[in-house]
Subunit: 279 residues, 2 copies
């Protein structure tokens, strides 16, 4: 049976709240996910929280009640609490009816089976957790296997990244590695490393993408370092028709992800260029 | 000559700081842009701030000094101040060396010349200012004319939206309108209204996009209302290969924007599908 918790000073409340900080996430090995939608997504992907906290409204909701029961049946802890305590845990004025603390998966590169998906995202020094989460979300949409984070990236298990991922944190694999380590791993098997660059004439629509394709996205401010570009098997250019010379990192990942996928569709067409439409 | 300002209580400091609030922006008719890159972008687009505030570092920077001089020559106000005061104005711990208050452009729909560009973004009830700014940034990249904001959207002149736009707030036209008003305007001339939807079998790669093309993006939580979808000339589906049924709004706009642009390129190709690449 779930316990009723009414005090901010309750140990479980404090523990959940601490997970907004990276240090606590690391030492506990847990991360927070908020909202029934994402927690149901987790359950459907075979993941249950180790701790679940919910409001009276959550307890009354059939799907939420089912997940609470499953969490307890699996040995997890369940607490019913007040909306203002939930708000304090999630840091949102407008809290969800439920949140859960999930075990962080192992992010070792060696756990990635590159042949499990034709497409992978690789992000280098991405600093915005919203971008990390959004790339995970896009990865789910384009059937990517996951996201490999290179060098110092925003924590994919931060509340902001998990929120932006809209549940994809549970369906996409996440790995973290230094660049050298990644390159060693990459070159130990099949894989085309594709970077976007202004230093090439290869249009992204004319390129030949090979499976498994690793789409490399650079830091928000600085893009990819030159020596990283030099390691790519293919550099492609996204046409920039305006004054700016770059896209938002999550946008660039998405445009590339959809383009790579599109290039693998159809069959009889002789060219990568979409048809001309007089208009 | 720029004035030296050392007090947080200075009237210009307080006025600039107030522009972080929408009410003040509206009553003043001004908005804030931070950083030399974006302020130089503004200048290159023919826009100078009415007030410019900068650090000693800014005063020493040749390009910054040039823009300060141009601002004063045009009758604007220039103040040199301390980094901590700049930080207070921008709300950032790590302030830029310069920020400017610019006159907000008129956002009347009637000011849009639809034939000035082949592509326009239209956003409905978009709540995240980062998404609004990111769509402006993408609009610049794909040669869009601008962004039309429908119903209650995040303020495109908020600090967050301006920051995310990376200068595109100065190169993209911005309009705001109610849905009925927009439809009346749209139907008074040429224009194809394109929505993304799960309720269609039309793949986004197979569609025929006509100029001027208006790409309609729905609210982050709810997507497009059904009655809005019903008004579209074309509904297309972005394939979703994973568990999720939606993309981040700015990502959806970008994938559509690049796809529409791609469909207009080339000439001899018989199909919208990129070529098949065995891999």
């Amino acid at each position: 049976m779930p316990r009723q918790v009414t005090a901010f000073s309750n140990a479980t409340v404090k523990r959940l709240r601490s997970l907004r900080d990276k240090k606590a996430r690391r030492s506990e090995g847990l991360f927070l996910a908020e909202g029934l939608r994402i927690i149901a997504e987790a359950r459907d992907s075979g993941r249950l929280p180790e701790i679940i906290a919910f409001s009276a409204e959550g307890a009354r909701h059939p799907l939420c009640a089912e997940i609470i029961a499953a969490t307890e049946a699996a040995g997890g802890e369940a607490i019913e609490t007040a909306p203002d305590i939930l708000a304090k845990m999630s840091g949102k004025d407008n809290p969800q009816m439920v949140l859960g603390a999930f075990r962080q998966p192992d992010t070792a590169l060696a756990l990635i089976d590159r042949n499990a998906a034709p497409l992978w995202f690789v992000a280098q020094a991405l600093r915005d957790p919203g971008n990390v989460g959004t790339i995970l979300r896009t990865g789910d949409a384009v059937g990517a296997g996951g996201l490999i984070l290179i060098d110092d990236c925003a924590d994919p298990f931060s509340v902001e990244a998990v929120r932006s991922s809209m549940g994809a944190i549970f369906t996409q694999q996440v790995a973290a590695a230094r660049w050298d380590e990644f390159l060693l791993w990459l070159r130990s098997g099949a894989g085309q490393l594709v970077g976007t660059s202004l230093q090439t004439d290869s249009d992204y629509l004319d390129a030949t993408y090979k499976k498994p394709c690793f789409v490399l996205i650079g830091n928000e401010q600085h893009g990819l370092p030159e020596e990283y570009e030099a390691q790519c098997d293919l550099l492609v250019k996204l046409p920039m028709l305006g004054r700016a010379d770059s896209l938002n990192a999550a946008v660039a990942a998405a445009v590339m992800g959809f383009a790579v996928r599109a290039s693998w569709r159809g069959g009889a067409e002789p060219t990568g260029r979409p048809r001309f439409v007089p208009a």
